[in-house]
Amino acid sequence: MSTAMTTGRAPGTRAYLQLGIIWALLLTVPAWLPMLGGYTAIAGRVLVFALAAMSFNMLLGFTGVMSFGHAAYFGLGAYGAGLTLKYVAASTPLAILAGTLLGGIAGTLFGLLLVRRRGVYFAMVTIAFGQVCFYIAYKWDSFTGGYDGLRGFLRAPIDLGFTKIDIAGNETLFYFFVLLVFGLAVGLQALILASPFGRTLLAIRENERRARFLGLPVERHIWLSFSISCFFTALAGTLYALLNNFADPLGLNYVMSGNIVMITVMGGMRTFWGPLVGAVLFVMLQDYVSSMTTNWMFFVGTVFVAVVLFFPRGLMGMLQKRSGA
C-alpha cells in the first residue's frame, strides 16, 4: 500500500500482506506486549507519536515540504483537550474535537503566511511560530499551568447513552479507543493521499515547476496540505493529553518538533507506514534507555545517525526495497 501510494503503482499482494500484519499486531497488543515486558500505556504512546509523525509526513514525505514546528499543533491539540476537560466539560469527545480544531485552525491560518516560503525559510518560520506557542504556554501560569504543565483534568468515560465505555479506568479499553481514533485518522489520510488531490501533492513534491506549468495553483495546494497535516497532528496531541492526563509545555517545544521529524525520517518518509515503525523504535529507545541513563537522547541520536547513514530511505523504505515491493 505504501509503495503503491508514493509511486502510483497498483497495490500488490505484498502490500495487502503488509497491511494485514500491521493491523494484526496492533489489534493484539494487550495480549503480547506484557510478555515482552512492556505495558499497554507505552503502546498508546507509540500510536500517538505514530499519528503525529504520519500526519507530519503528509507534508514532508508526500508534499515535499519541511516543517520544523509541528510540535506547535501537537501541543495546541493537547492543551485544547486539557483545557476543555478542566474548564468546560468532562467530555472526552468534546475535548478531542476542541483540541483538534484549536491546533488545526491555528495551523490553517498560520499556513497562509507560509506558503510562499520554501526550503529552509519555510522551516525557519514554522519553528518561530512553534516557539511563540511554547512561550505562551510556558509563561501563562494562571491559565496553562506554565512551567509545570496543565494538570487537574482527567479523561472522561465515553457515554454512548445505553452504555459507558470506561476508558478512564481501564488501560486496555483506552488503548483500543486510541487505536480506533488512530485507525480512522490514518484511513482518512490514505484516502486523501490516493485521491486526485493527493496526487497533486505528489506532483508538487516531485517537481514544483512542472506542477505549476500543468496549471496547478501550487501555493493553494501546499497550504491545504499544511492545514490537513496540522489538523491530524493536533488530533494526535489531544490523544497525548488524554493518555497522560497532563499537557506539557515541552510538547510545544522545538525539541518535540525535532522528535517528530526524527521518527518520520528513521521510519521512512517515502512510505505511508514508515513513521509508525519510527515511532516504535523511538518510544522503545526512550523507554528502555531512559530507565538506564538520563542521557537517553544521546543513544536516540546515535541510532538516528546510524539509520540515516545506513538506511537513507528509513527502516520501512529499506524493508520495501529489500523485498522488492
Partner: protein, 253 residues
C-alpha cells in the same frame, strides 16, 4: 481567413534584467496549425522569449497575444488553462512516479479535478481513457507502469510531451525537445513532434539547436541573435539568408 487573429502574436516585446536586454523589440506572428522553430546562438534570448510567452515572468514592454487576446499580464497557470502547453529545456517530469501517474495527474489537473477527494466511476473512466490516449500518442503504453525516472532520455521527453498534451493545449511550446539526445532518440522525438503537427494539427513553437531537426520539421523559422529578431522565413529562405549565415549558421554549433 486573412483578418483572423494569429494563434500567437508577440508585439514589440522586450525583457530587461537590470541593464541586460535579454529580449528587445521582438515581434512575431504564428499562424494556426503552423510549426515554427526559433533558432539562434546561445544567449540569444530564446528561452527568455519562451518564458515571456508562457508567463514565467511578465515582459518589460510590449504585448503577447493568444488568439487575439492580450495575455501579457496573465499568470502562467491561467495561460495553461487558455491552451498553452509547455516542455522545458531540462526535462520536467515527476521522476519517482509512473508514466501513467504522470499523465493521470496532468489529465486530472486539466479537467479541473485537482481538488477532488473522490471521483465517481464515470470520471475515473474519463481520466483513465484520456491518459491512455496521450500515452498512446507518445508511444508509451508499453512503459505505462514504469517509473519515469528510470526511462531513457527520449522516453522521458516523450512523457513530458504526453503530459503537455494531456491538458488539451491548442498551442504547444517545446524548449529544445532533442537537447542532449543521441541520433536514435532524436529520431524518436522528432517523429512524435511531426505526428502531432501533421496528423493532430497542433500549432507548435519550438526552440532547437539541431539544424537537421529544424529544417526537417519547421514551416517557418525565426532567428534570434542578441535578443533581437534577425530574420524570419521558410527553411529555404533562412538557409539562403546572408545575415543568418554570418551570425549563426556559418559558425560551427
Amino acid at each position: 481567413m486573412s483578418d483572423e487573429a494569429p494563434k500567437l502574436e508577440a508585439r514589440n516585446v522586450s525583457k530587461n534584467f537590470g541593464n541586460l536586454k535579454a529580449v528587445s523589440g521582438v515581434s512575431m506572428r504564428v499562424g494556426h496549425g503552423e510549426l515554427r522553430a526559433i533558432i539562434g546562438p546561445n544567449g540569444a534570448g530564446k528561452t527568455t522569449f519562451f518564458n515571456l510567452i508562457t508567463g514565467f515572468f511578465p515582459p518589460s514592454s510590449g504585448e503577447i497575444r493568444l488568439d487575439g487576446h492580450d495575455i501579457s499580464r496573465v499568470p502562467a497557470a491561467a495561460r495553461v488553462k487558455m491552451g498553452m502547453g509547455r516542455t522545458f529545456q531540462i526535462t520536467e517530469i515527476f521522476p519517482e512516479l509512473t508514466v501513467r501517474e504522470n499523465t493521470r495527474i496532468a489529465v486530472e489537473t486539466g479537467l479541473g479535478f485537482s481538488l477532488r477527494a473522490w471521483l465517481n466511476a464515470a470520471d475515473r473512466k474519463r481520466v483513465a481513457d484520456a491518459s491512455e490516449e496521450v500515452m498512446t500518442m507518445a508511444n508509451l503504453t508499453s512503459k505505462a507502469d514504469r517509473l519515469v525516472g528510470e526511462l531513457s532520455h527520449g522516453d522521458q521527453r516523450s512523457a513530458e510531451i504526453a503530459m503537455a498534451l494531456a491538458l488539451k493545449p491548442s498551442l504547444l511550446l517545446l524548449d529544445e525537445p532533442t537537447a542532449g539526445m543521441g541520433d536514435e532518440e532524436t529520431y524518436q522525438v522528432t517523429g512524435l513532434i511531426r505526428r502531432l503537427h501533421r496528423d493532430s494539427k497542433y500549432t507548435i513553437v519550438l526552440i532547437e539547436h539541431d539544424m537537421r531537426v529544424v529544417f526537417h520539421l519547421a514551416d517557418r523559422i525565426s532567428v534570434l541573435a542578441e535578443g533581437k529578431l534577425l530574420a524570419e522565413g521558410t527553411p529555404e529562405e533562412i538557409s539562403a539568408n546572408e545575415h543568418v549565415q554570418n551570425a549563426y549558421l556559418g559558425k560551427a554549433e
